[in-house]
Symmetry: C2
Subunit: 277 residues, 2 copies
């Protein structure tokens, strides 16, 4: 480590701290901050670019293998004092490892018409969004489309809850899903809207042999009418207990599971980190 930062008033640290707290600053800078040994290591092992790594002496001693991988990947590195690192921490007990990463470019929306995608609309809770991404990755989803005004995937809470899936899952952003869905349909995708309605098609009865995009809505309000209308089919999880009792993350888990149930994963593509754009 060549250079050490000992002052909490360091300009770089101030900027990095703002990346933790402000979603609009993240957008403006095209950067976000990752905290923690494992999460920073995950970023280093993914296609994500690491601009700057900040590591305490204590972290170097405690997580030497993780730190080595992170420092190798980062464009620049700084040693920091623990009391400086605290400014960058969103957790109670910081591990003293932080990385400023570049937000990947999100240009045109051009899905590859194979595999199965999840489209989320207006998902607001960071823990929910992170959990959905984590589960989606585990189940072998091809990518996730974030529609409407979902919470920022590059917020500390989403990053943590996703266990690094944010770095590895192909993500795409789309303000108006209802406009895009018919285009995807023309490209050959089946489009499905998840609704809590008994007259919708039981999710176990849906034919997922086609490439598919399944839309899941906001925690409280579900999908907007526009998105429901824009989809070919309304599908639902048949409820045996109390219908109101499935939350967004649990619904999305079960829906993705059914979409991919018994299906062979696109292993080669997952390994190659397929791009949505």
């Amino acid at each position: 480590m060549v250079e050490w930062i000992t002052s909490r008033k360091n300009e770089g640290i101030k900027q990095a701290a703002k990346l933790v707290s402000s979603s609009s600053f993240r957008k403006e800078q095209g950067e976000f901050l990752v905290e923690g040994a494992r999460l920073c290591r995950d970023a280093a092992q993914s296609d994500i670019e690491i601009v700057t790594a900040y590591v305490t002496k204590q972290a170097q001693d405690k997580y030497p293998e993780y730190v080595e991988k992170i420092l190798q990947k980062a464009e620049q590195n700084f040693g920091i004092e623990p009391h400086v690192g605290e400014l960058l921490s969103d957790t109670k007990t910081s591990q003293g490892i932080y990385c400023i990463c570049r937000i990947p470019s999100q240009d045109a929306l051009d899905l590859v018409c194979d595999g199965h995608y999840l489209a989320l609309e207006n998902l607001q809770d960071p823990a929910n969004l992170g959990a959905v991404l984590r589960t989606g990755e585990a189940l072998g989803i091809r990518g996730v489309i974030l529609g409407g005004s979902c919470c920022d995937v590059y917020s500390p809470k989403v990053l943590r809850a996703s266990m690094g899936a944010v770095f590895r899952l192909p993500l795409s952003f789309c303000e108006a899903l209802e406009k895009q869905l018919p285009r995807w349909q023309e490209q050959g995708f089946s489009t499905l809207a998840a609704v809590p309605a008994q007259d919708a098609v039981d999710i176990t009865q849906v034919d997922f042999s086609n490439p598919s995009i399944l839309a899941v809505g906001n925690e409280g309000n579900g999908l907007t009418d526009g998105v429901i209308r824009a989809c070919e089919q309304r599908v639902t999880i048949p409820m045996k207990g109390r219908a109101e009792s499935l939350n967004a993350a649990a619904s999305a888990s079960i829906l993705m599971w059914e979409m991919l149930r018994g299906r062979e994963p696109p292993f080669d593509r997952v390994a190659a980190r397929p791009s949505l754009t």
Copy 2:
């Protein structure tokens, strides 16, 4: 409302506040505290006994229908000032409605040998446990067995995350699952241990036509060896992405879904709130 409490030093309030913060005090008293208009209403509509209700004037004006149901059910009622209510609140914005409820008796463990049960071992995170209970109720699980040292289901966080499922789902407590599982097997239950192992049986290939008990373990460590050995079968969710990326709540959701997939619910029994004991 006959009596009003205006002092934060009121003895009843002090005791009630301790029910919020201390799990051992809850056990000692055999009582727990429920907060919020909807959750207290859910308690009032369930078999749970309400010992005391505390309601602010503001809450009476804002949630008249909920408050009416709660006051009817409670053995005694008090009006309270908002600054008194704050002492009982575990949330940022309190609705000014609180109930002291009785913990249902948990005597012998005698499962009715039909239906499908979930057995949790050492589940530590209140949000996870609450979510699992909520999803279990929605999917029509017959009951949940809390094994080992799970976190307290009567803590404010579990109650909230469960959306009141704690009041309605048959719950049973069992310190040593590994001793009890063979007995349940003798009674006719199939017993299954969920493990993250590729050589375990794919959950989609398991025959769930028998009454079944499915054991799911701790967030970090999974099931203990003793419980795995005590079960007839090891089952797993086939992973297509990263195996380490399913959390306890997501795993349990998918496992319960598969256990109950396409199965007719025991509607009459759910309506009658079946007892495990």
